[in-house]
Symmetry: C2
Subunit: 243 residues, 2 copies
């Protein structure tokens, strides 16, 4: 297990992709007090209504966030890979409006809201990078609204696979072609606004067309360009490499 400072250097590197940091900014980040915590698959990091005192940087593993609607249906609203800040919003919005749960065994670094907030305004470069991080997340939500609202099951499924593969590649976790998405078909369905049965059928057609390969409980990309075309995917909304 890495120590806090090493982990925070990862956070600093991530933030540098969102905006230039000085040596002082970098040091201020890596010397923040932080606590490492491990979570098991399906364990809750946070529940709707909670009032957490810290925000979390995902060091390793996968987590997802979801809402429950009146009829018991679940909608996954985001999936996070190592390198993501997963609950920045609670830094300024005291009460959690959704649940956060581990998808796989995961490690997170917890930083007190007051520390992160103070740092954001004593070191504006850091503040801007964090703010930008939260704005990119909002942009991804907008894309998900369009994805769920206006794409059919095939394009919608392909789009989400493309997005997660791209974000993972950008986070330096390996080429998108080799990436495997460790979600069950039920979880995928809840992210896509589909039933697991229909996800199964949709994945089958994507595999039959040579676009993806399914292994036990994960999905890998077999033909990036083909999948991208089916998905109507462009990465502009991820705001990569923009400052």
């Amino acid at each position: 297990m890495a120590d806090g400072e090493t982990v925070l250097a990862e956070l600093a590197k991530r933030l540098e992709t969102r905006g230039a940091l000085t040596v002082d900014d970098f040091t201020a980040i890596t010397t923040l007090p932080c606590t490492l915590r491990e979570f098991e698959p399906n364990q809750y990091l946070l529940r709707e209504g909670d009032r957490p005192k810290f925000c979390s940087f995902l060091v390793s593993g996968f987590v997802f966030r979801h809402k429950i609607v009146a009829d018991g249906g679940r909608q996954i609203v985001s999936v996070h890979t190592a390198g993501d800040m997963i609950d920045l919003q609670n830094m300024l919005l005291p009460e959690a409006d959704h649940n956060i749960q581990a998808l796989t065994a995961s490690t997170v670094a917890q930083i007190l809201h007051e520390d992160a907030l103070a740092l954001s305004f004593t070191h504006p470069n850091v503040g801007k990078a964090l703010w930008r991080e939260s704005l990119i997340e909002a942009s991804i939500f907008r894309e998900w609204v369009a994805n769920v609202g206006r794409r059919d099951a095939r394009a919608r499924t392909a789009h989400t696979i493309c997005e997660l593969a791209t974000r993972r590649e950008v986070a330096g976790l390996g080429a998108r072609e080799t990436y495997e998405l460790p979600m069950t078909q039920e979880q995928l369905g809840d992210a896509l606004g589909l039933t697991s049965v229909h996800v199964n059928r949709t994945l089958k057609t994507l595999q039959d067309d040579g676009l993806i390969v399914r292994r036990k409980r994960s999905v890998a990309i077999a033909n990036w360009e083909g999948l991208r075309a089916v998905a109507d995917f462009t990465s502009n909304y991820l705001h990569l490499g923009q400052r």
Copy 2:
């Protein structure tokens, strides 16, 4: 037409609901350079790919933001009423990832990104209020993902009516019961991920049940509690009155 300073006082009042401001903060906001602009119905304020130099505060009217997908489908991702900041994200994300269009005749106050950004870090209370504003917007996007992904047409339509009525009331624009939503059924459909034909039928059943009243080109609420129940609506995700 109001002058810039009067309009910016409205912005300052809005931001005060997001976090305490000092007299100095208030003055700093109202003395920002700003330009008032008028837009006609359907006129574009911003298009995907643009790189605007300013952000916009909606003084009067309605605007909406939308994305176009591969098959030509349109998804409206947000609807804004007077008092909303409508493109804060471009302050830190140079390239627009969606379109912004006037729904009705509208007036906006434009503030240069560099001015808003500088103010945010010289006056942290203002920065926090603006950041919080953008985080609440992200929370609304999450709710829309769940709405479009996991609620049927009836609940989904009711939910959006409840949300817009609540937001409008909170913004001080009159009681939610008297509010009229000035959207065509086609626009409503594009916001809800439905066709205009199905919106028509859904609104009819809501009216037949005494929950709403339809007038020419708008919708009013007839039975708030009934509509709220159908919608599975709670306002927690709007983070009202939290600091």
